[in-house]
Symmetry: C2
Subunit: 240 residues, 2 copies
DNA sequence: CGTTGCATTGAGGGCCTTCAATAAAAGTGG
DNA sequence: CCACTTTTATTGAAGGCCCTCAATGCAACG
């Protein structure tokens, strides 16, 4: 499958050929976004729904005093703002971290898509509930674990999510994050993120060089992270 | 208005008498939940949608090593789990913090309610987007502010939210949280939460005794907290 | 091949934690 | 309504995780 959203949804739902086709045609309006460019900025009025097709982006909030907080990473198959078109303005921004391909889908197109397709609608709902679960997991992670476990947790999560869209190969995947971005998403300073990554390497858990991560000991990393993937709700809609 | 959900939604939407009536009849199945009792537990299969009518609850997650993280406070007018009935099981629990009245609404009832009422549906959507915004704001708060500002921020937010449902009177409102709960929701220890509350009192910002909070200097508290209420998206649906 | 951004290292300090004891308050049963 | 128990709040001391500031090394890029 070449559309990462379809790959993701098929992990949990049984889409018809027709559903798949409808999704693909809805993703025709694709724009290239350069690295560090905003997909949508804080204060913008949301007009389109944005779907990541390739590359990475992040949801971020700039604070008064110059610091930044990253509240989500968006990878291929993730919606940036599925339901947000009814709001007056964005209360945060979304920026591309790498050159990215983003589908711009109009609200009417999306309404049309969901109105007649209950299975697809259920799958999209599932995806938004997972996104919310991820957000809660990040909150738990930041509030109750030390820096070492926080970074370990982040890596475990990204591994699972990328695996769901076919972007992991034998424990290896692209992790195009600077240490500052890792720090901004785990609530620490870049200096400390650096030291934690060194420790993860020294302990033989992973290698990370040039944006390529190689997970050497997934089991031990999960252990350290206290990682429980249940919040990603894998596979469940199929079973039900 | 006696139904807090209606009070909340009417801040942002123009509901018809018929909408209001439909909401009220959907809230007929009310159960009393004792303090410290779960409304729904982690692992439960969600069957009903739960709406807070009176009292406080919290969304929480217990970690391996015995610590706990509170990811949301639920006050009258808040849904506990509006969209969650399609998931296989709860990945976190919801517990009453005080004796509470909770409406149990069946999925079919809710579908029925939204199918024919676009204005109401929009308002409920708005509410879920605000909940998501609150979650992101908590993440930003915990990851990039010190303990003093974190607690200040929490109090600012609860002030706004309670004001929206008519539960604030001249800067005073009920805050039935233990210091441990404040700590579990701001990512600190109870000991430290205690010291921060003392500082807030000493600085003349508030008084807090017996679960009653009196906001003495709201402006200065917002300043300290770096509180920007835009994530609560007040008033916007009316304007649009 | 210089420039720019990112990664790395060191030293010093502060916010917050842990452990532990005590006081106060709230809940419980007779 | 009081004695008792349990929970919650408060205080102190010691220490660690992580921050701040600052310098240096390294790699990507035009």
């Amino acid at each position: 499958v070449e559309n990462p959203l379809i790959a993701k949804l098929e992990n949990v739902a049984c889409l018809s050929d027709d559903d798949r086709h409808a999704l693909i045609t809805a993703c025709q309006n694709v724009r290239d976004i350069a690295a560090n460019e905003d997909v949508i900025s804080e204060g913008d009025k949301p007009e389109y729904i944005h779907l990541m097709l390739a590359g990475w982006a992040c949801r971020y909030k700039d604070l008064e005093e110059g610091s930044r907080s990253i509240t989500a990473y968006l990878v291929p198959g993730d919606f940036c703002d599925l339901h947000v078109t009814i709001l007056g303005s964005m209360d945060h921004g979304i920026a591309a971290l790498t050159p990215a391909k983003v589908a711009f889908i109009s609200r009417t197109k999306m309404d049309e898509l969901t109105r007649e397709r209950p299975e697809l609608t259920r799958a999209l709902w599932w995806a938004t509930l997972v996104d919310e679960g991820v957000l809660r997991a990040w909150l738990v992670n930041i509030s109750r674990r030390d820096g070492f476990a926080r970074v370990a947790n982040l890596i475990c999560e990204l591994y699972e999510r990328l695996d769901n869209v076919g972007l992991v190969n034998a424990g290896k995947f692209s992790l195009p994050l600077t240490q500052e971005e890792i720090a901004d998403s785990t609530g620490m300073t870049p200096v400390h993120a650096n030291r934690i990554l060194q420790r993860l390497r020294r302990d033989g858990l992973l290698t990370l060089k040039g944006g390529n991560l190689n997970l050497l000991d997934a089991e031990r990393l999960k252990e350290i992270a206290g990682f429980d993937p249940s919040y990603l709700h894998p596979q469940h809609l199929r079973g039900a």
